[in-house]
């Protein structure tokens, strides 16, 4: 109940931290096969390097593109860019054509420009199939941006030369073709405390919930064991009401879930920085955090009791308990973010108590929310908890256990 969730939290946070850093800090290794040695192609190389997302590895030791593909197959890199041998020639031709077109429209130049055919050999982007579509799209966007930059640069050069009969000054060229509007990234926050999203802030709450619900293995099978070993019969023939035994059991396990959360949060706060992971930053509203954790624990204990009451063997309780928690985690958005789920899953997602726990935790951990912000998550969680208690009670009555 403690060791496995901790190991899970460390491993998943480490793995996801690499993904976060890949997107945010680390550079993606890209093989660049430049068949063109002219100036625009070399400038394209520089532009790609300046994108900041790629770690460009120029390849010289290959005979053809098939060699490049085999290097991707062996995962030397997941992406390769091939600049065709006539890239520069085509860029220059296109720039001259567009510039002429522009000048004709403002009647500075006679219509003596030859229009280029649109059969330009494309820049190729090879990628390994493991690369996700969204990631591929962002690489494509970066590449388009670099290509656009080079193309624009030569068009501007041509236009300026045609008008002024001299080369464009470097400073002016830079002003024209580089973006002048800066972009500032700001994570949206409900409170004053702005948390920078990282693997720890995402994963610790999610895997804490997962760990809490995994008490189903212990509590569910404990109920089954009591049914099988006859202790329930003994308890039912003693003066204390058996319902009290069930409630006591749940209270004990709710305390266990609270302890699990405390241990995992502590590890996130103090151990993670020691092993190179971002430290967990607790939400400002501690009572709200305590409330969510408590209700999540009660819900987990109710779910476990349900599984125990309706299972006939320990194997059944362990198997169905574990699988159902994984399923609830999957549909609840713990394994895949809820915003990428298909719309048909939105309703099913709301049936998972883990979803509401996670939403409440994210409100607190990522958005700096407080008690007022999480009520809409706590209410459905309470409703599900009450329903689970009613189902467990019905099961106990049906099996004449109370």
């Amino acid at each position: 109940m403690f060791l496995m969730p901790i190991v899970l939290a460390i491993v998943i946070a480490s793995v996801q931290n690499s993904t976060f850093e890949l997107v945010n800090e680390n550079k993606l290794p890209v093989l660049l096969y430049n068949k063109d040695s002219s100036e625009p192609a070399r400038e394209l190389e520089i532009a790609l390097a300046k994108v900041g997302m790629f770690d460009i590895k120029k390849v010289h030791d290959i005979q053809n593109e098939a060699d490049l593909k085999s290097r991707i197959n062996t995962k030397d890199a997941l992406v390769a860019i091939v600049i065709p041998d006539n890239y520069s020639e085509e860029v220059l031709k296109k720039a001259k054509s567009v510039a002429g077109e522009a000048l004709k429209n403002i009647a500075i130049q006679e219509d003596s420009i030859q229009h280029t055919a649109d059969n330009i050999i494309p820049v190729k982007l090879y990628y390994h199939p493991v690369l996700q579509r969204s990631f591929r799209k962002s690489i494509d966007g970066m590449l388009q941006s670099a290509l656009q930059f080079i193309q624009s640069k030569y068009i501007v050069k041509n236009v300026y030369y045609a008008v002024n009969e001299e080369n464009i000054p470097e400073a002016l060229e830079k002003q024209i073709i580089t973006n002048q509007t800066p972009v500032t990234e700001i994570p949206v926050s409900k409170g004053d405390s702005r948390q920078i999203p990282n693997a720890t802030q995402h994963n610790i709450p999610a895997w804490t919930i997962f760990a809490m619900f995994f008490i189903v293995i212990s509590l569910g099978s404990s109920v089954v064991r009591e049914k099988l070993n006859g202790s329930i019969i003994r308890l039912r023939t003693l003066p204390t009401h058996f319902g009290l035994a069930i409630i006591s059991k749940q209270i004990t396990y709710v305390l266990v879930t609270m302890l699990q959360a405390a241990v995992i949060f502590s590890i996130g706060m103090w151990l993670f920085p020691q092993i190179g992971l971002p430290a967990l930053s607790l939400p400002a509203d501690k009572p709200a955090l305590l409330l969510v954790t408590l209700i999540c624990g009660i819900c987990a204990a109710s779910f476990a009791i349900c599984v125990g009451v309706f299972s006939n063997t320990q194997e059944q309780a362990n198997g169905s308990g574990a699988v159902s928690v994984v399923l609830l985690a999957a549909i609840g958005g713990l394994l895949v973010p809820s915003f990428v789920m298909p719309s048909s899953f939105r309703f099913i997602m709301q049936l998972s108590p883990l979803h509401w726990c996670l939403e409440a935790y994210y409100d607190l951990f990522l958005e700096g929310g407080n008690l007022r912000d999480i009520w809409m998550n706590i209410i459905p969680l309470l409703v599900i908890t009450v329903l689970l208690q009613i189902i467990a009670f019905y099961g106990l009555r049906r099996k004449s256990l109370i």
């Binding site: 070993n229 202790s231 003994r234 023939t237 003693l238 003066p239 035994a245 004449s400």
Partner: protein, 247 residues
Amino acid sequence: MPPAIHIENLSFEYKGNAPKAVRQLSLRVEQGDRFGIFGPNGAGKTTLMNLMTGLLPYTSGSVQLLGHEVKNNKKFINTLLGFVPQDFSFYHELSPVENMEFFGAWAGLHKKEIAQKINDLLSIMSLQAVRNKPVNTFSGGMKRRVNLAIAVMHEPQILFLDEPTVGVDVQTRHAIIHYLKTLNANGTTLVYTSHQLKEAEDLCNKIAMIDEGRIIASDTLNELLKEHRQDGLEGLFLTLTGREYRD
């Protein structure tokens, strides 16, 4: 003085299409009796035991323990009775002491009383040497003694015993029967079922024969033997219930 057990027109059937397990059954057990309930497999002995102890809910008829209707006074009834089920009913991974501490607390005993009872009962059951060892390491006979010790911790006035000596050796059986007689001599009413008919002859002063959910004979053992011209319980059993297989 009310009878220890007074059952009138009790009927019970399990859910589904199963035939009635208990049919219009009436029975009276006096305080201080050592009462045996016998019958072939499936006759309704365990169902009757579960109805008397409140483990099964009845909707027809009446079951009173010491004048109190079982279904209306479940909590109080549980202070009057002790139950030794046929299957072991304790936590196998715990020691006898831990089991007795736990069930003693649930029986409403105070810490001091529990400690005293543990010492007394473990000595009587000859389990002092293994008092702190997990029960799952015990022999069948030792487990039977733990099962019995837990049931009598709260000094019940009526003790229900469902095959309390099944699967034990001769020594353990003698020790258990001797202890049950001692309890009875101190005022505890015993209600006992078993297929060990020789043992039953030794323990019981009154018996009831049950078959197909009905009482087919009930009296003192001596009267029934005399009435049916038998010299032992086994002969009486076969005379009353026949020789056909029942399961």
